[in-house]
Symmetry: C2
Subunit: 429 residues, 2 copies
Amino acid sequence: MKYISSQDTDFKAQLTALQAFETAQDPQVDAAVAAICADVQKRGDAAVIEYTNRFDHTQAQSMADLTLSQADLAAAFARLPADVQSALQTAAKRIESYHQHQKQQSWQYEDENGTLLGQQISALDRVGIYVPGGKAAYPSSVMMNAMPAHVAGVKEIIMVVPMPNGERNDIVLGAAYVAGVTQVFTIGGAQAVAALAYGTESIVQVDKITGPGNAYVAAAKRRVFGVVGIDMVAGPSEILVIADGTTPAKWVAMDLFSQSEHDEIAQAILITTDANYASEVEAQMQTLMKEMPRKAIIEASLANRGAIIQVQNLDEACEIANYLAPEHLELSVANPQEWAPKIRHAGAIFMGQYTSESLGDYCAGPNHVLPTSRTARFASPLGVYDFQKRSSLIQVSAEGAKQLGQIASILAHGEGLTAHACAAELRME
Amino acid sequence: MKYISSQDTDFKAQLTALQAFETAQDPQVDAAVAAICADVQKRGDAAVIEYTNRFDHTQAQSMADLTLSQADLAAAFARLPADVQSALQTAAKRIESYHQHQKQQSWQYEDENGTLLGQQISALDRVGIYVPGGKAAYPSSVMMNAMPAHVAGVKEIIMVVPMPNGERNDIVLGAAYVAGVTQVFTIGGAQAVAALAYGTESIVQVDKITGPGNAYVAAAKRRVFGVVGIDMVAGPSEILVIADGTTPAKWVAMDLFSQSEHDEIAQAILITTDANYASEVEAQMQTLMKEMPRKAIIEASLANRGAIIQVQNLDEACEIANYLAPEHLELSVANPQEWAPKIRHAGAIFMGQYTSESLGDYCAGPNHVLPTSRTARFASPLGVYDFQKRSSLIQVSAEGAKQLGQIASILAHGEGLTAHACAAELRME
């Protein structure tokens, strides 16, 4: 793991190198995705079936072979052990309860001349949820994507999840059942994104697609953006732990592991004011590493992108956090409430020693779909607000038309838009 | 203008043809934009200056020649006629007051086991506003983009506006002054978008870019999406007027013109229950057309994409509106409040006969940057919410760690993520 001190003369450069991640769009991936999207748009189901059979090694004859109903989801749930059923249900309840706080309501008011102004909020009609399959089939992702849509009032939640070699994952399907998913297609990749975006004979066009995926899925989402809404283009997962030394070193070591075990390009960084504590955490990591089934991934991730940053004080730590704008930020300090308001850019802030990131990943309530790769500078966790949209409301009164008409007329003439001006002027007579 | 009746046997096909607009991404534009973006990322100011001199026919020697300070904006404002100054100021005040209603506040609550959950709202640090130049230099666009950022609390609002041949537009710069823009660069096109997204020696990297532009600007925004946030990729402007015949035909005719005068691919559609009224509106259009300075554009737009749709009743009209999901929807009917709740998909709803779209474009208060090309199915008007973002807050109590730890442990093991499970389990001891 890399050691950096904020006192290093090249600290800024080291920090920049640390956050540098190749986000360039691969032209080969782009070209492949463009061809798949165009093909699905043109040939619909037939193209989706072909790509699925080719990439996921399935033998589907028709879309029916790639479709699961709510009854299939209920059956998958019923097959789960009781403790898993109960864990899914409790997590769902907590996630739902948190997301209820995000629901927005329509509002309106009247101004001094009797003109009504407001905003009407409505849910999206139909959304598509992309759930990665294969080695990273996560039931928690299903819930974190579907639940906010459900709370927003979306009527149809269509999920796509590739099932390579036709292997069904009961826990993923059981999570879909608990989260209120309407229908599941066992397809993935760019072909799934294109099918949701353009619609096919069997798949109705959705209004928005959310959920993470590989480079092909990301490129496809970017491509169909505008035809449908998309949430974000997700990068590798990141954790930044700010520790003042009051949390057991073993706990922080495991928190760093829980990020790096995702994949070789995940990033785990520890910032601490205490050099001894840094050594302690590192010693714990060496001990704990032996027990980790995903040891190879953790080691690669820490070697590639991990770091321990030594700082002078917690103010400096917060400044660095704002620069890095991490997906997950643990404020593993004695008084986290004092420091949280200084964090401007982070997807989620985990406060205090008991708040391991993993509790937030599964069941604390907030969403685990979070902005990565410094996009927390401008982006938010996935939420109910992603599945609601707004229409402005304006009802100008007769008196308002006189007052506003004058202003509109002057500005419209200033822009050379005579019809705009006339439309306002006619209502002033 | 095309006549369609909801009773036509091929009505659905006609409607589909009407909304069909070629949104395909032009590979040539994409390639040109990719090259410009890469060049600006690599060579910074030098590249920006070269492209600007080439495309905008300027003779800039350095970025200083393409930079305007707040003093320059104040001077431009001072040169405007008094009535224009006052119109800009009143419009700004109304826009600000409306947008204040959109400001979101942080919230938090404690659950039954003492765990704190919430969401911390913060403003973006720095945003870039793209304002088209040349034939479509709109001061209203400046205000509609800058004002919500200003209300959100964004500290730095950087505006780019191309000034072909170096011609400065005082009303555009005056609007920037009124709207609280921090700094202006007189650059445009893909090079301006790239400069804002990546930063150069003279232009600091922003966190989000908003504002409409041509195909090159749209392609550049799509390309840099992820490095920075973007608002949307705007298509041609549209109006849909639903009229029950109670609004003077002349007013509705002018409202249709005020959309079609934007450009040849703008779309104006009238839906009415009354065939005689449709004829009246058309007769008015023929008369009024003669006085329109932008007659050629209006005629082309109406011929290309205009339509009058005859329906049986207003319920049917609302259904069609929901399918078309128009940018601007006028409910020019006797009782608009009855019908507005039936509209699920529209950028802005203008209610009643006094509410011409043009009043909303300039000064009613709501934003005029609205979702086009059916994106109102999932997108919202530009607003304060586009310049604020959220961080989840979680502080788990000792007791909460025990309860949540069990659930997280079960689900993490289910996903094969042992470190996630261990991080939760350690806190249960």
